[in-house]
Amino acid sequence: MAQRIKVHEKALAHLSKGLYRSPASALRELVSNAWDAGATRVEISTFAPTFTRLVVRDNGAGFDKQDFVKLMETGIGNSTKRLADGSNHGRPIIGRLGIGLLGVAQICTRFQIISRRNNGEIFAAEVRIEDFLRRRLDIQDPTIVPQHSGNEVFIGEWDFIPVPKIDNDWVGTQVIVTTPLASFSESFIKTLRPTREGRDTQEEEMGARVDDEALPSRDDVLAAMPPLDWQRLLDLAADKESVMMRGDYWRFLWELAATCPLPYMSAKAVPDGLVRGDQKRLEGYQFALIVDNRELRKPVFLPPRDKGYSTQAFSRDIVVEGRQLKFHGYMAVQEGNQLKPAELRGLMIRIKEVGVGYYDPTLLDWQVNQGPRSRWITGEIFVEEGLEDAMNVDRDSFNRYHPEFKALQREVHRELKKLFSQVYLRIGERSTKSADERSQQRREVLLEVAKGTADGPVKLIVERKAESNETQPQFAKQLANYWALDVSSASTLPTKKVNRDLAASVLAIYDLCMLRYKHSKVRREKFQEALLELLREW
């Protein structure tokens, strides 16, 4: 008879210290917890610009002392959220493993939690996570992996603490980090780069990071703080190649906004009404995320442009190995200009409204090399059903060989192919149009130069049927009342295509000078004069 396989709790204990790749990813998990608890408002205070404390507060359902004790005693990572009907307050349930609370352990070694249910008793507890946890797990440190405890691993300890003063009518959960890790706070302060006019340096443009030991001055820090107005912040972020060039705190805000289930600035944030329906749905959740007194919205904003965007909306409802995979999305291409900031380039996959990782610039490993064109594209894929099994535990990346991911990839690549055919068509049309316009302008230049040189009326012949006995084309002729400049044979000149118009024009003014003026010295002077003027205006 086949034997069952066990997983040791050490595996989960490892996760508590190395799960998320950035502070934003870690806090995203607390925001997701609040979402699942029905919160309509989550406030994060990083105490910017000093970053001396971190407070995450929501107005969700909260939990009581007994829930907390149960969570601590039965083990973190034992979520039962999904045992309900799969939705909560009309929202999809995000959490799955019940390890969201551990996210905060990424940025501190201890934190306080205060919570109260509606009409319930408030409680406060302090949670301490063991130092050097991973190393100690590896060496089976008996204080955290006791010999007699079977599979149990103790990653820290907790105590109830006195409840601090708090509004009597407040319901929800509050997580307080009184001492964030120095690496978190200092990095936020030290990498802040001034944003105001005249303060940018070449070093900054090149993306150099500051790693001086000394803290920057108060004035420099304040000048580098992101604006409180979110639209203004997005505008400034788009001024630079990358949000990272503004510092880790900017990046933190940007990443949180990009991945949390938030509405856009407006339904017009993306052209062609591509997110109108999504905006309506997202606003319907009535969920606000406030970080340091700014309300975050999705950081997607494609401003109107003369050339417009090539866009593609899509949706699929397919079955992959017996399971439903349902998604919709859009892609928008800004032809000819790289999208800024770079963080917006690529495709963002959202499962149950929450972004997984960053925008993927590889376009889900699209094998077609688009070169710089891949920097013109942004898009989002909203997965309504499926794909969760393909997501890695960090909720930041995918198992790219999972059948559901493969199916999504295939469908998205189909859409990409369609989109880029449309893009190339538009590029071709635009190139032809701009070449025609340029040609027309140059003809006008030639005509003006020729009029001055001939000192009389001139007509330009650009199209003519070649005569059968014509051996060498004549570019200028004197007719009864005017001079005729004939550049119709330009396309037959034996030189590079790009030079033909210019060569024909030069030959035309040469022939004109030869016919119009008798004296060789005058001919030369007139030709030189006309040639230089032509080149000046070309």
Binding site: T40, R41, E43, S45, F47, P49, T50, T52, R53, V55, R57, T109, R110, E126, R128, D131, P164, K165, I176, T178, T179, S185, L215, R218, L222, M225, P227, L228, D229, R232, Q286, A288, I290, D292, N293, R294, E295
Partner: protein, 341 residues
């Protein structure tokens, strides 16, 4: 909701004393740097930062949509989470924890690593570093509303020691600047005569007696037997603050003198609380002993000859009421900028 009388009395202090003092501070800054003058304002807020909003309404504190109240730094008066206050003055720099505990951080030995106490210690240390980073301040509004001397602690109590530390930070912050001066606005509760540590009472007595000994002409202006306790307190407090200032290289400017204001506040108990406000300009200490002596004599004479302005319900001008309404409107507008679903 109608404005409570106590709130109006407090606004008299804000409007008639703090506002003009801040205005003259801004004028002085503008004279030095016409284009870059930004009032660096430090305050202790009790959750409703009306002082900051009043200064913004009067355009003494910059507040734009981009950076908000960036030139304001604050602690929560009670040491709670200042995020609530921060929402009312977005962009202001919040310091977590208790102001007094932060200032007195260095007085305690570092607890063992890995303990909660050590965590708290490190948190205070980090906050202290940041206060130093953001100092100096052009205006320090020490609106603590605490009792200066309690029955439990010998003088100088925690509050005075914290104040002294803040003066040190101010001195260090200003050390490289040409103009070294700031305005100090302080609010404390007047302790009841019986609810004060005997040592503190002795201190009050000794500073007054010392003054009278030094300047016998003041004797006719104050005698222990005739004067109420509040008068003794009003005369002693400036001297006690002055001692802390002197110890840190500062003194009170004789030019603008000492303004003292008192008011009562109902706290639900049988007796109203007595609140005492002092408003002074602080400058670096005079270079010579003679100058210092002359300045001190003038200050003490002015102090003994004047008395604190006591605010009553009848003395509240219509202008104060109007201003408070404007400040409330501005506050509500700021609070409404973020969704409150």
């Amino acid at each position: 909701m109608p404005i409570q009388p106590d709130e109006l009395k407090k606004h008299v202090v804000r409007y008639e004393y703090w506002l003009p003092r801040c205005r003259s501070r801004v004028d002085a800054l503008k004279r030095r740097k016409p284009k870059q003058a930004k009032l660096r304002y430090f305050t202790l807020s009790g959750g409703d930062p009306l002082d900051v909003i009043m200064l913004a309404v009067d355009k003494l504190l910059p507040n734009d949509g981009e950076s908000g109240f960036q030139s304001v730094c604050f602690f929560d008066r009670h040491g709670y989470n200042p995020a609530e206050t921060g929402a009312k003055i977005p962009g202001a720099v919040p310091f977590p924890g208790s102001f007094i505990d932060t200032m007195l951080w260095e007085e305690n030995p570092e607890p063992a690593e890995g303990t909660s106490a050590n965590n708290d210690y490190q948190a205070l240390r980090n906050t202290m570093l940041m206060v130093r980073q953001y100092a100096p301040f052009d205006v320090v509004n020490f609106d603590l509303e605490e009792v200066l001397f309690t029955s439990e602690e010998e003088p100088p109590g925690k509050l005075l020691r914290a104040l002294k530390k803040l003066f040190e930070i101010q001195r260090d912050g200003f050390s490289t600047m040409a103009a070294q001066e700031f305005s100090l606005m302080m609010t404390v509760r007047l302790p009841e005569h019986g609810a004060i540590h005997p040592e503190a009472l002795a201190l009050v007595r000794s500073v007054l007696d010392a003054n009278i000994r030094k300047f016998p002409e003041l004797h006719s202006l104050f005698t222990w037997n005739d004067a109420p306790w509040s008068r003794a307190f009003e005369l002693a407090i400036p001297k006690i603050i002055l001692e802390q200032l002197h110890a840190t290289g500062w003194t009170i400017s004789g030019a603008s003198g000492i303004q003292e204001v008192t008011r009562e506040r109902q706290n639900g108990g049988p007796q109203a609380e007595q609140l005492y406000h002092i408003i002074v300009d602080v400058v670096r200490r005079h270079d010579t002993e003679k100058e210092a002596e002359a300045a001190y004599r003038k200050l003490m004479h002015d102090l003994f000859r004047s008395s604190a302005h006591h605010i009553t319900d009848d003395s509240i001008a219509q202008e104060v009421r109007m201003n408070l309404k404007r400040v409330h409107v501005a506050r509500d507008k700021l609070s409404a900028r973020l969704p409150r679903w």
